[in-house]
Amino acid sequence: MSVEQQQETPGTRSRQHWMGVLAKSSVEALQQRWQALSLEPEYQFIRKPETGLTMLRGRVGGSGQPFNMGEMTLTRCAVRLASGTLGVSYVSGRNCQHAITAALADALLQERSTQSLLQRELIEPLQADLEAERQQRAAQANSTRVDFFTLVRGED
């Protein structure tokens, strides 16, 4: 993590984790698990879902000075629950439903009453899906790993 100016409390760390999982999951997987929970929280939009661009930055040589690489589409949303808790989402792509669900889940994950349910029924399974995809990609890549062998030449 490259930004350390913020005090990293355990609360912040777990919020970073679930926000990452919500953003990286496919919208289909997220919607399916979200709808299965049948939560219908009361909320209002602080910021209706809106799509824009973020400029992706890289580093010269991978570790040198930053440069601007090109933009990526991004959708963000912010909601407030009846309790006053704010939920925020930033997800790559242009899917507004993804952003709304992620913001609602972010809000409910901050509520004591719903946190463990959502961790158990939403974040953990989504995280497992992401990990399974990752393992599958790793296995595919690994099947193409080169094993060099040396031919012995000469008399001895």
């Binding site: 580093r59 440069f67 690489m69 933009e71 990526m72 589409t73 925020v88 099947s143 080169v146 060099f148």
Partner: protein
């Protein structure tokens, strides 16, 4: 002379309707969906994302469909669309060392830590047309893992760069001097390029530049019109997590992942007054699986460092203004295409001038002949 240029509306409407009909092709054949393009023509999609300079595979696929597969037209459409969207700031610099590797090869080190991973590639194919695809053949399924998972891959550990191996001996230049803080790079979508342009701006320009142009410049510089015949230190393709710091949160969050290809070239450098002989680096990166693009960027990027490294600038590839002001396919296409627009008045005036010059020449010749005859 007044030339009427109004009056083509009906013809233009009909021409566009005809274009749409042609784009659809034979209606007895199933229509291509945007999802099919995205899934089955991913390398075309990657090119449009790169030169359109927007990472969004769905939009790039849509642009390709709308443009009947014309990459440059599709890139133009994507560039036009991006201007309608607001900007939500900048991402944190992507950490490509944490990339989940799907392909990683080195032309310099056979036994690099983590191994050579070929991933999916057209390299080593025989370039014979595969007629089973014509006969609607079944898609081949990727083989199950043949080897045990390498520890680095399975655990998702970071995969250190090959060039760091040389760095330990100090034989290769550092990508930055130790202890220097990050500088905020200028953004050429916000301000024009000023010459001489700094490395970050040059790189941004090249990454959105025309692949064919950069490939040809690289080729020329390797053949001798430039001093750039490097080794491929490492090329890697894989997914990298994108993080940004929303203002209202104040801490970084992951917002998704992007597929990237990164190329690092190693060039000889004979040293200068300040620097001992060492290897220098050229760096290229591109969206998606765009190896040719990433390598070309790295080659040209290194060639453009001539001045900063105290090398003589002798060839177009080393000339910043020549390269950077001609990389953009949207600008290039626009300028060449504008010749299709009515130039009736300009042409008429040149026609008049040629006629006058001819007449004057004939008159001069006649008078000279007459003088000679008189003499």
């Amino acid at each position: 002379m007044y030339v009427a240029v109004k009056g083509g509306e009906k013809a233009i409407d009909n021409a566009h309707a005809l274009m749409r009909t042609q784009r659809r092709g034979d209606s007895a054949i199933a229509e291509l969906s945007v999802d099919q393009i995205r899934q089955q023509l991913p390398l075309a999609v990657d090119r449009v994302m790169n030169e359109g300079s927007v990472y969004d595979p769905e939009l790039a696929a849509l642009a390709l469909k709308q443009a009947s597969g014309d990459a440059v037209e599709a890139i133009f459409l994507l560039r036009a669309y991006r201007t309608t969207l607001p900007r939500f700031g900048y991402s944190e610099p992507l950490d490509t060392e944490q990339m989940q590797i799907e392909r990683r090869i080195s032309g310099t080190f056979k036994d690099m830590p983590g191994g050579q991973i070929l991933g999916s590639t057209y390299d080593y194919t025989h370039r014979l047309l595969d007629f089973s695809l014509l006969a609607a053949g079944e898609a081949e399924v990727a083989p199950e893992e043949a080897n045990a998972l390498s520890e680095a891959l399975a655990a998702g550990n970071s995969c250190p760069r090959v060039l760091e191996l040389l760095n330990k001996e100090g034989l290769i230049e550092q990508s930055r001097e130790a202890g220097t803080p990050d500088e905020v790079p200028r953004d050429l979508t916000r301000e024009p390029v000023n010459y001489p342009a700094e490395r970050a701006v040059r790189l941004q320009n090249l990454i959105r530049g025309d692949e064919g142009f950069l490939l040809s410049l690289s080729y020329a510089s390797m053949r001798g019109y430039g001093d750039s015949h490097p080794f491929s230190g490492e090329m890697r393709t894989g997914r990298v997590s994108v993080e940004l710091v929303p203002e209202e949160l104040g801490f970084p969050i992951e917002v998704g992942e992007v597929l990237l290809t990164e190329s690092e070239m190693v060039n000889q450098f004979h040293g200068s007054k300040e620097l001992p002989p060492q290897f220098t680096r050229g760096y290229g990166i591109a969206f998606g699986r765009a190896e040719r693009k990433a390598m070309s960027v790295a080659l040209v990027e290194r060639a453009l460092r001539a001045e900063e490294l105290g090398e003589e600038v002798l060839y177009p590839t080393q000339d910043q203004e020549f390269v950077l002001s001609h990389t953009d396919c949207v600008s290039a296409n626009g300028f060449v295409s504008h010749l299709k627009l009515p130039h009736y008045v300009d042409f008429q005036s040149e026609l008049e001038m040629i006629r006058r010059l001819r007449k004057e020449q004939v008159q001069r010749t006649e008078s000279t002949t007459k003088e000679e005859a008189d003499a």
